[in-house]
Symmetry: C2
Subunit: 260 residues, 2 copies
């Protein structure tokens, strides 16, 4: 696979003073198909990084894969196909009404997932100082966001370290890559996930389903994202900055500093 994920374009900047040529860095968006046990399930535009993780996470997001340990092998074909082989019960594949998400990335969640019960989340809590380290680390993990303004980042923190950082042209895809890493056994869901994207329903839903107890966003949740966090018991914090966190639900997992 080619490592190049950006290209440089000539552009013309116009201001009231006149116009001049400049150059901009653009993120490369590529279509990939995802297959499960040789059956094509869907396709997505992606940034060509973390594609094995993406394949697994994509299939989790759509309800085909449901837990770590099911994935046996992921093969990435650079011509645009990710083949996931997993021990899943064909009977378990998503049924019923499928909801395409408003700003939907991988695009589909079933009504069953949206309204069903949640398994208990992994046990985890963090000090505020540790969260500050995490947010700083995520912000400094890659220059791609600032270069292209066209990718979202998603990171995972556990055991005192940032153990993953992925980017993608879609905020859902970036989260899917982190969840895929959990499915591939790279780390456990007992930790905190940070996304640069908004926490709409489907974003919170997939984090809750895999069992992540702390969900942080650089920006805001929607009403339904918050409702799902409440139902699942997820700690949801928004507008996350190195010096400031706005906790919308379950603050008890975040050990705040002593008031001055």
């Amino acid at each position: 696979m080619d490592d190049q994920v950006t290209l440089v374009q000539k552009t013309v900047v116009v201001t009231p003073e006149g116009s001049e040529e400049t150059r901009e860095t653009v993120a490369i968006e590529v279509p990939y198909k995802v297959a499960l046990n040789d059956r094509e399930i869907g396709a997505s535009m992606v940034l060509e990084t973390g594609l094995e993780e993406f394949g697994a996470g994509f299939l989790f997001g759509q309800g085909y894969i449901t837990a770590p340990g099911q994935v046996r092998e992921v093969l990435v074909c650079p011509e645009g196909r990710i083949s996931v082989h997993a021990d899943v019960d064909e009977e378990d594949e998503p049924r019923e009404v499928i909801i395409t998400s408003g700003c939907g990335g991988t695009g589909k969640i079933s009504r069953e997932m949206l309204e069903g019960a949640f398994e208990p989340l992994a046990e985890y809590s963090m000090g505020f100082a540790e969260i500050r380290r995490f947010i700083r680390a995520a912000l400094h993990a890659s220059p791609l966001g600032n270069q292209t303004h066209c990718v979202h980042g998603c990171a995972f923190w556990t055991g005192g370290d940032m153990v993953a950082h992925y980017e993608d042209v879609g905020r859902h895809n970036a989260v899917d890559k982190v969840i895929g890493a959990i499915l591939l056994g790279k780390f456990s869901p007992a930790g905190a996930i940070y996304t640069t994207g908004r926490l709409t329903s489907d974003m919170v839903l997939k984090c809750a389903r895999i069992g992540i107890p702390i969900v942080l966003s650089r920006t805001a949740p929607s009403s339904l994202g918050l409702a799902i966090a409440r139902r699942a018991g997820v700690t949801l914090a928004a507008y996350a900055r190195p010096h400031r966190l706005n906790i919308f639900h379950a603050p008890e997992r975040i050990i705040s500093p002593e008031p001055v």
Copy 2:
């Protein structure tokens, strides 16, 4: 339909100095099904505004409706269903491989749409001063973006005026509402569209398919968004601000100021 599209939540802000309760405004995200001639086509999470336009635009985005004049009637049922009645040829419905978009909103575009030829765009050009007025008008059209940080805006300018401004929890949905307004005959595509969202492939594709000649974004295009603009001949300008525009393709439709 209820006009309320936000709600206020109590949250806890944590800083190094301690924590305190505050309140945040949250955008209300609601699932809606979309039916075409009584057949359910899909569903999406939406902000409950401009739902008739959304229904038409959603079906255009997925390739079921292809041109203004096809839509006969749109009925919105506040229980979560938008019923579009349109004169479309059942034979024309999308076939072949469906691509779910990376940050995909209405979620599906066919390979045929992605790789097919484009109809000629509407003729239109604008002075830079006029574009500045448009961007300013779009930025001031609604406080919802700044209040919730969870909605995207999309506006349309033609004949010297901003003729539409819609918002949604999804950047695609907001664009779909503007395109829906064109499909419902509210205005012609001969003008400029402004979105606060990134111009990934599917975003540019739907603007090009309906024939909009000038596409402006507050933020960046992806490689494939730019490639589609080139193929279709769309003027694509990014990082649009009242005082600055960065034109990635076809600057000839934008009449720039005389250099000082």
